[in-house]
């Protein structure tokens, strides 16, 4: 028995083209798993057909939960239900309109041997979502839209949103069913025991996309297909909203917001959560006064909007800055732009172009000023590439991109460019407080340099500074005193008025302020330590001591 059942199922596994074989819908029947025995379904089907429900919705309300049943083409489902109906009552009333009007696959009329054809009006419960939108043509349309948007995808996730009127209609049908068929509907809850419209749609549409385009519908895929179904307000279950609205005590709502009360009332009523809340509280009788059940029939189906989004990908690397005129991020002061480019743009624009992305978010392990160079191995950075259309890059392509960026300008150079995962991004900001950085500063002294004094200064071990927030950043930072450490210092003398000081400091130390003292707000500072009028002419960052991202060898012969 089980194997016979399985054979039936494998035979049925060709939802897209029923022309491929000629079979009778009777074969589907044994595999149905409904609330009650198959021969009791007839009256329910009758009632639902009279209310203008589509076949898939009828199956939902009969309790069917098998994905493959829903994936069958409409005609097969129609025939199956017809045969079930006839089974129950031989004198079933011919309730639906008869016209020869089938959607897709109509060319095979002869092969189908249909006895009755049912005109497909928009179903009152799903408003067409499980009808026209479950046809191959819609899946093709979605796929073409994706291709047009330039997205490349191997797996996807479907996010479906339905208009609020669905909630009212579902409630209406359920109430209607409970009234007419206490058994079995009194024992079940719509939320827990019935397949929802969204679920069924995802099964069918997802199944078709998978089969046609060899992609995988994966929950939590990085590529999202967002389908929003819309229903014009004029056709919504207006009875419910209008009637309910009129019966709301006006003073409560009007008092709160003066002129926009009208709009607000309609807006609050139309939100999904408020509708659910209302439906939970009102009784069937009350519902009957506000709205009709079964739900009002309509001549229109839903329309749809579709949008695609791929989750951000992350690229990391290290950059060197050899120019003293560009800032790290685009600098706009009072509406005008300062500097013709920035480190961020030089790095990110080529990446955005290559991945066909919407934009990027740039962050790095600390920053240097406009007039400060970044030397040595460079500063680690991460670029979050937003909504990339072609995110897949192999190592060779990444190296090419790196070369492209490096060749484009002399102002910056990058290295160790690599793709990373989202959870690696926290490594960038690790140890912001306890990492060290080394600097080299060119210092000018108005008096003749006392070499011994400076050398003795360098021989001292760790020195702790107390730095008040420098005046030059005070407009955007909190006023505070920050203790910072200087671990090492080394001096190199150039001429009687100039020397070069190298130092290794704690991350977050304001080196310029250490040299000139910031009007005495950084203590100790070089002016007090040397008792001389010193000032800083140039500053370079020699290294940022963070051991991440990992070095990438430029050997292209490595795989992947």
């Amino acid at each position: 028995m089980a194997s016979a059942g399985k054979n039936l199922l494998t035979q049925l596994r060709c939802p897209v083209d029923p022309n491929c074989f000629n079979f009778e819908s009777n074969k589907l029947r044994p595999s149905l798993r409904l609330f009650g025995p198959v021969d009791t379904a007839g009256p329910i089907i009758n009632v639902l057909r009279q209310a203008s429900c589509c076949s898939r919705c009828i199956l939902r309300y009969l309790g069917e939960k098998n994905i493959e049943v829903y994936q069958q083409p409409r005609q097969i489902l129609n025939d199956t239900l017809e045969s079930l109906r006839k089974l129950a009552s031989r004198d079933a009333i011919d309730n639906t309109n008869i016209t020869n009007n089938l959607k897709s696959n109509t060319s095979s009329n002869n092969l189908m041997q249909i006895k009755q054809e049912i005109k497909e009006v928009p179903c009152v419960t799903c408003l067409g979502v499980l009808q026209d939108y479950c046809e191959k043509s819609f899946a093709e349309e979605i796929h073409n839209n994706i291709i047009q948007s330039l997205h490349e995808y191997k797996d996807y996730d479907l996010c479906v949103s339905l208009p609020p009127t669905f909630i009212v209609r579902e409630h209406s049908i359920w109430t209607y069913l409970k009234e007419n068929f206490k058994n079995p509907y009194d024992n079940y809850s719509q939320d827990e025991d019935i397949v929802s419209v969204k679920e069924a749609f995802k099964w069918i549409c997802g199944g078709m996309l998978n089969k046609l385009y060899h992609v995988i519908h994966k929950y939590q895929s990085l590529f999202q297909v967002k389908i929003e179904f819309l229903f014009p307000k004029s056709e919504t279950d207006d009875d419910f909203f209008d009637n309910y609205k009129n019966n709301l005590s006006p003073p409560r709502k009007v008092q709160k917001k003066s002129q926009r009360s009208e709009k607000n009332i309609s807006n609050t009523l139309l939100s999904a959560t408020s509708i659910r809340n209302i439906l939970q509280t009102i009784t069937a009788q009350e519902f009957r006064t506000y709205s009709s059940y079964p739900p009002k029939s309509t001549s229109q189906s839903v329309s749809y909007k579709v949008d695609f989004n791929r989750q951000s990908v992350f690229i990391a690397g290290r950059y060197n800055k050899y120019d003293r005129t560009i800032s790290q991020t685009p600098w706009i002061l009072d509406g005008t732009r300062k500097g013709d480019t920035s480190v961020q743009e030089l790095i990110c624009d080529p990446i955005i172009a290559k991945m066909k992305a919407d934009g990027c978010k740039f962050s790095s392990s600390g920053r240097e000023d406009v007039d400060v160079r970044m030397l040595g191995k460079g500063r680690p950075f991460i670029a979050e590439i937003v909504n990339p259309r072609s995110p897949f890059m192999i190592k060779k392509e990444i190296l090419q991109l790196q070369n492209e960026i490096n060749l484009a300008t002399e102002k910056i150079k990058i290295r160790d460019l690599q793709m990373i995962e989202r959870w690696d991004t926290s490594k960038l900001k690790q140890g912001e407080e306890d990492k060290t950085k080394t600097y080299s500063a060119l210092i000018y002294s108005s008096e003749i340099i006392n070499q011994d004094k400076i050398l003795s200064l360098c021989n001292m071990k760790k020195r702790t500074l107390e730095q008040k927030t420098p005046l030059r950043v005070l407009h955007r930072r909190t006023l505070a005193v920050r203790p910072r450490a200087i671990w090492l210092m080394k001096a190199e003398f150039i001429d009687p008025h100039h020397f070069k000081l190298s130092m290794k400091t704690q991350a977050g130390t304001y080196v310029k302020e250490f040299v000139h003292g910031d009007l005495g707000r950084t203590k100790p500072n070089l002016r007090t330590l040397l008792d001389a009028d010193v000032d800083i002419l140039e500053l370079d960052v020699e290294s940022v001591d963070l051991d991440w991202p990992p070095e990438i060898s430029e050997d292209i012969s490595d795989s992947g």
Binding site: L471, L474, T478, L519
Partner: protein
């Protein structure tokens, strides 16, 4: 300032609009060889500049000053007293606490460690002229100041 002759103040302004109030070289305090005995931040019976507490980026809790608000009273060893006014309208961010312990730094290094206070001026809308960040106050540029001082000398 305030009608008292020659009591000039020098305001250093950063490109981020923050102002540091200092005593100008032409101020009488700096002319003779005096010593400062006291710097009093209790400017009025109710207001003590030392109690100024600022928190956060927006500098909440700061005392508000306008062009004529006094910042401190200075007494010299010859008995002469001077009042330093903020010449800028805005939030008082910081007063130089070094002046309490070593007030004479004001005489030794008026333009650097001897500063009086740091003020964040009130933000002006972008429509106004960029240069005129403190409308309604007659602040002289360096050239006009030097000219005025020269004129004084010749009187």
């Amino acid at each position: 300032v305030r009608g008292k002759p020659h009591e000039d103040l020098l305001i250093l302004q950063h490109s981020n609009k923050i102002c540091v109030i200092t005593v100008a070289p032409s101020h009488p305090m700096l002319q003779c060889d005096r010593k400062i005995t006291d710097v009093d931040f209790q400017v009025t019976p109710k207001l003590n500049r030392l109690k100024n507490k600022v928190s956060g980026k927006r500098k909440r809790g700061a005392q508000w000053v306008n062009e004529t608000s006094p910042l401190c009273h200075i007494t010299c060893n010859d008995g002469s007293k001077y009042t330093i006014d903020s010449c800028v309208k805005g939030k008082l961010i910081e007063i130089n606490e070094l002046l309490i312990d070593s007030p004479n730094i004001l005489l030794e290094k008026p333009g650097t460690e001897g500063y009086i206070a740091v003020i964040l001026p009130k933000k002006i809308s972008r429509n106004e002229n960029d240069e005129n960040t403190m409308p309604g106050v007659d602040l002289l540029s360096k050239e006009s100041y030097l000219k005025a001082v020269a004129e004084r000398e010749s009187d």
